[in-house]
Symmetry: C2
Subunit: 577 residues, 2 copies
Amino acid sequence: MKLPALSQYLPILDWGRRYDRDRFVGDMVAAVIVTVMLIPQSLAYALLAGLPPEAGLYASIAPILLYAVFGTSRVLAVGPVAVVSLMTAAAVGNIVDSGTAGYIAAALTLAFLSGLMLLTLGVFRLGFLANFLSHPVIAGFITASGILIAASQLRHILGIEAKGHTLIEITTSLWSNLYAANPITIVLGLSATAFLFWVRSGLKPLLQKIGLPPLLVDIGVKTGPVLAIIATTLAVWGFELADQGVAIVGAIPQSLPPLTLPSLSPDLISQLLVPALLISIIGFVESISVAQTLAAKKRQRIDPDQELIGLGAANIGASLTGGFPVTGGFSRSVVNYDAGAKTPAAGAFTAIGLMLAALFLTPLIHYLPKATLAATIIVAVLSLVDFSILKRAWTFSRADFAAVAATILLTLLLGVEVGVTAGVITSILIHLYKTSRPHMAVVGRVPGTEHFRNVRRHSVETQPHVLSLRVDESLYFPNARFLEDHVAQYAADKKDLTDVILMFTAVNEVDLSALDSLEAINTRLREADIRLHLSEVKGPVMDRLKRSYFLDELTGEIFLSQHEAVKALDEEAPATG
Amino acid sequence: MKLPALSQYLPILDWGRRYDRDRFVGDMVAAVIVTVMLIPQSLAYALLAGLPPEAGLYASIAPILLYAVFGTSRVLAVGPVAVVSLMTAAAVGNIVDSGTAGYIAAALTLAFLSGLMLLTLGVFRLGFLANFLSHPVIAGFITASGILIAASQLRHILGIEAKGHTLIEITTSLWSNLYAANPITIVLGLSATAFLFWVRSGLKPLLQKIGLPPLLVDIGVKTGPVLAIIATTLAVWGFELADQGVAIVGAIPQSLPPLTLPSLSPDLISQLLVPALLISIIGFVESISVAQTLAAKKRQRIDPDQELIGLGAANIGASLTGGFPVTGGFSRSVVNYDAGAKTPAAGAFTAIGLMLAALFLTPLIHYLPKATLAATIIVAVLSLVDFSILKRAWTFSRADFAAVAATILLTLLLGVEVGVTAGVITSILIHLYKTSRPHMAVVGRVPGTEHFRNVRRHSVETQPHVLSLRVDESLYFPNARFLEDHVAQYAADKKDLTDVILMFTAVNEVDLSALDSLEAINTRLREADIRLHLSEVKGPVMDRLKRSYFLDELTGEIFLSQHEAVKALDEEAPATG
């Protein structure tokens, strides 16, 4: 057996070795574009998370570098993202008041815990756990989170205070503070929002129409927030609007990311454990979806377990450098990809750009109104809101619809943590309910073939004294008794029965409860002088049955195929055929 | 459509109409035997539940009558049982101190809540929920409960105080109070225990050897506790042992069951809600197992949902007449059955017998030592302890073993409520884990047939450019991505591939996440110029797929059978065959 190469755990050894001039230029161009876009985004997500704006810059620097070393995606850009920032605000805001030193410390601890969890999941190769978040649940959760985020940012547009982590809390809080709304802030906020919407819906088609190449169109659109920031900052500075009550970002320290140590008080840890787990899983799912989407375009491979390690390192890095929980972001990664990033070095160059910004640009945004940042968040997240998943799920299956609807409703009404947990639990319960009442079909032979299908859906041949029953589910505890009852029912309905064949094509598992039921069925049928046969038992199931006494007691036989079973019973009793 | 007959909800209308002299005699004989056996048992289980002894008698009277009206089993005897009494002690003991009026009131509330829950489950026909307690979990739980019960009763044998609901709590409590042990109580308790063990292990074979008919042997054995009670009561009375510190039952009111009203304080209800649910489910599972075992012997049918109603009525009855949670008991029902009970009227006669006992016999047991009652409990429950389930599960499947082991361990270490909950959750998690990494098999044709099997287990024919993959699991969110990865892997390994056939024999369900994965697989294979086909898609799955766009986008075809699929691809490209 070969030990895994070191490069499996340090993907940088793989791409770093082949780095050249061409790749350098591509990476450099992408880095400049992403840096310009990331500055307002980072500030805005820090605001969303309830943290001082510089935390957003810090959270974008070390994580990008660490992901470049440990991650497997060539173009994923790691940093603060909307949904995780919202979850951070919800988790930390439940424990400490925003604006305090304790709040910042708790955010560091949250990032640290989340990093540890991601690393642990990665080392133990438990990435598959993220699959328990079904697609509809994720879609519903993102939509509901988008609404919550937009609602929570309205307060900055209105220039008032408001709290809360559910739609009802936020709206009542907004409503009761509405009297204090600041007209100038509202004008600034609404203008910025309108401008940013126009950039998306008006500028983009315009640039496309005048024949700009797609990359430039995209850059034009993505620099919209920068323009809004420059314009509103100048307005606040020029007209001295801060004196009129417009909330501004204010003084930001000019510094590289500070070295910080997350608090490890057991009390804090125990309160943040569940939120950290949820943030880890949601962050991982978001990140891996982006990474896989982009990798598929270039036929590259993403290793989910290594991704966990990359994101874990990034979060631990964030917690040690004044940041907060981060993950791979959709918009920044797409820009990075479209701008031509070739390797994770692009991320490293972006980190350098952001470091320069943290050192030299922060005085320039002193007068940046918070309303502008809120506007960039609102416009960004409203593009996440997409109720079409409800319709799609409804058309396809009521079960999926129930899971989406529960996720959306509970996220809006009870917050992100309850919402996503409820979504997962609902999906699992629905699955258990369905498998507890499996579909069963009486089957007969499709004429002229060796193929057996449901007598109700196909025109097939059956034998009078033989019941061929296809069990459409693995046999395990929730449905074991159901099978017993059904076979008893079928046997009772068909008085001249001599043989029952259970067709095991769809039985992928037989557990001990089901074995007990099979033994009970065998015994009861024997008492009624009916033999029990099995057909098409799969290898793994057969291996399992051989470890029990069931095969010794079975009154009938195990047939390789349903066709052989029916043929054998036919030959045995030609008179009844 | 016919409305359900009233007799479906009131089974008494069915058997009551055909009642005759023969049945009366059978029922009467059974009732006398059961009454004699139930008196010590009821007192003992009240002691186990932490309640005054008369509560045991009361809990046996109204419930028997109500079950006779609403239950479907002809011979089930409802009343206090060991495991439910232990769970009652655990639930109520967590809230109120034993021996107080509040304790008795909380036990009434617990019975009331449990009754309401059982009724609700019955009316909404949710009896299948009990199936989520798998056989191994039940077996493990009963074994662990037996140990806990025996340990908890040791204090009466030793004549000391001891508390606790876990094995560690009980043993440390026993140990620290051991200095106060009463030697006379120990002699009485150990003698009674030894005598009762001898009745089971020595007397029974003896009676069988002298040729007594089985029923009389059984009656002889079952009257053992009565003999022990008479002997030890006389000893305590004759030698005035109560003055020597032997704990006795003491004064019991001579009365019919009192009318009681359970407390409905919201605080108490919220504390008892979860225990009541667990007691309801455990009680229901125990009861229905007994009922079905006995019904099967006479080919009678038990309706699980109607049983819920019967047990619900019995528990509400218990809560209104000074009792505590009850269910169908194994030993009393078997005696009832063996003694020849024909109809639920036997239960009614037993109730009358117990009423007479409550009215006239209670003064006779004033001097009954508690140690004797403890001895009857210990001997009874140790027969429930059976670790062989561990070995059986280990041989059959590690998953079942894990569920049993978790149940036994956690019940002993953390108590009944945690134990049984952990058992259910472990079983479900194991199932989810297994289905999240489904077995897949590359299949080929068994020569000379139309049957396709795993290439690794059977000698089969395959085609060079076609990959036939049998997916051995329903496709749903936990395994959707797993399928994507695997198909990609197989396709990458087989360079000259032109066609992939997914054989859907074992796919009983496709949810929205899996649909997304199928679409992704289709797209990726198309980009590599490989067609995707499905074969043997079941009716319900096909119905589902038709509601999506997947079939429009599918590059290949849907074949009725795997054989047809391979034949069609063969004919299409005869040169490659």
